[in-house]
Amino acid sequence: MQRVSSLIDTRDDDYRANDLHNRRLASELKERQKVARHVRPERDRERLRRQNKMFVRDRIEALLDPGTPFLELSTLAGNMAYDGEVPGAAQVTGIGIVSGKEVIVHADDASVKGGAWYPLSVKKIVRALDIAIENHLPVVHLCDSAGGFLPLQAEFFADRYFAGRIFRNQSILSKMGVPQVAVVMGHCTAGGAYIPALSDYNIIVRGTGAIFLGGPPLVKAATGEEVTVEELGGADMHTSVSGTGDYAASSELHAIAIARDIVERFRRPEKAGVDWIEPEPPAYDPEQLYGIIPRDPRVQFDMREVIARMVDGSRFHEYQPRYGQSLICGFARVHGYQIGILANNGVLFNDSSLKGAHFIQLCDKNRTPLLFLQNITGFMVGREYERRGITKDGAKLIMAVAGASVPKFTVVCNGSYGAGTYGMSGRAFDPRFMFSWPQSQVSVMGAEQAAGVLTDVKLRQLARSGLQLSEQETAAIRDPVLEDYRRQSSAYYATSEIWDDGILDPVDTRNAIGISLSAALNAPIASPHYGVFRM
């Protein structure tokens, strides 16, 4: 396979300015992640110590095989919600290695509001379990939650993808034969009680862990019965009397050791057969991505330069290099796995859409997972393009994206707008994993265009009632709209709302995709089959 020959000049002024800008964005990301992971008010830390509980990060470290990678997901979930007071949505989720097996880790973070479930906490847990279902990954739950955050119960309780989905997903995993282990490290009350109960294996920590539908205060209020935590749902009662618990542990570390022993016995899954060879690092330094991604998101860049810094040996076999050039298609390897890449080099035309749909079917037929690198303002507009059937050709691309049986992975590298988001395997199209880069933006159209449209509508309404606005008054309508729109298009907002699985420092993308690919291959790949392509 031919090496991409880069045209980047690292001494160029633009390159240097971009490099500075993007390194700043990357260090800002790292800083925000560090805060979300580790910075807690002293009283919360103190409470954990008093309760003889480990901090969630220490629990996870003890659980994982030392020196192995942990791909944490949605670290910054909730960063723009609840006044920023619920870092990580009070949950830690990710893919890690436990006793040599790839697993999903789901852990409540009791240092945040006692581990209470906020609406985004529920969304994050459901997403982690969806990943477990799609990729046949065993799950280790580290349970320590005070229960649902009652003032917001309408936003997480009753709907299809709300809290009930956690227990539904657990049941489906069990039905599929994908095992789960729950470690009860705090009180699992009400709904939370079902997480250990629905796990194939559970362990309760003596003294701090307990499972009950209603805690002692609720029992007292309901029936007048006075009962201690240990009597009502402690480790000894459940493991010797009710059979709700399987193993009693003398400490958190003991419980983690038992969990590791259980995971060690899990059957090693047969990985889906995709082409794999010995990996090689990219020939071009991935750090050069900082200089390549333009500091102005409106400036176009050649996605081949990005591919060259992400794939094995910077080797890329480009498919149809002379046709539909605004969509680059081709084969490469990431950590040895063959993948098919679709990357935007401009707006989607008729020919680029057809090329993409064709390439997806080609990859599906030869069992090659797909990587989408998004930088897309949308499909081309205008009379000529409509007459040529741009909508019809876009529909073909969307049909192919939605129908592909091979695993898909999506990275929002820069812009992701309008129907382009759909054609390039956005969140709604079930990519197995989806990541964003720090300066990327997702919205139905660009902020300026949207603010323009919204302001125009308002002005026309006013004009009908005979009102004319000065430039200043127009700006007073337009600016807040623009500001709001920009905020809600940012990568930090997207990741706050869990529209992706996390923001990546661009240089980490190769490793994140490698881990995601390996995880995805735990599930068998169905035969190719599609809906009707409008020809």
Binding site: R3, L7, D9, Q300, Q325, G346, V347, T377, G382
Partner: protein, 167 residues
């Protein structure tokens, strides 16, 4: 197809195949040798050709391996057939930089008569809310500029023509 290596300006076509225990190196004119290589430490090893063994030192630099053998140095460069065989066919149509999409010219960077290398920005256009740099696809001299700043154009319109350098 044989692999092609360049050593000191001479081209060598070879093929390495597995034999029962070792590797067999096939050269042109039906010459072949049994070869084996054992790495002794980083950048050093023993090369065995038809039973006689020599220590060698080597450094890999992209597609070139520098080898030190019997007091002499050789640069062995892998010649990728995808590149070597494509040169003529590929550059033929590339001397005109064309518009990848309809849009407006933001600025023209090239100057007639100027010498440019592959990758030099010759013009910047704007289309569908994005600024795109139009780059020279090959080395050459700017022969003609077809557009001016502010002008709009259709897809595939010629923007800048490059002439190939007389060599």
């Amino acid at each position: 197809m044989h692999h092609t290596f360049d050593i000191g300006g001479n081209s060598h076509a070879i093929w390495l195949s597995r034999s029962a225990e070792e590797y067999r190196l096939t050269l042109a004119e039906d010459r072949s040798a049994v070869v084996a290589f054992v790495q002794t430490r980083d950048g050093e090893g023993r090369l065995t050709v038809d039973g006689s063994s020599e220590p060698i030192a080597y450094v890999v630099e992209g597609d070139t391996v520098h080898i030190h053998l019997r007091g002499r140095s050789y640069a062995v460069r892998y010649v990728d057939p995808l590149v070597a065989l494509a040169v003529e066919a590929d550059t033929a149509g590339h001397h005109i930089a064309r518009a990848p999409m309809p849009g407006v010219v933001v600025s023209v960077k090239a100057v007639v008569g100027e010498r440019v290398v592959a990758g030099t920005v010759v013009a910047v256009i704007e289309s569908m809310k994005l600024e795109t740099a139009i780059r020279a696809a090959q080395d050459g001299i700017v022969e003609k500029i077809h557009v001016t700043a502010g002008e709009s154009f259709d897809r595939d319109a010629a923007l800048v023509t490059l002439s190939r350098e007389a060599s």
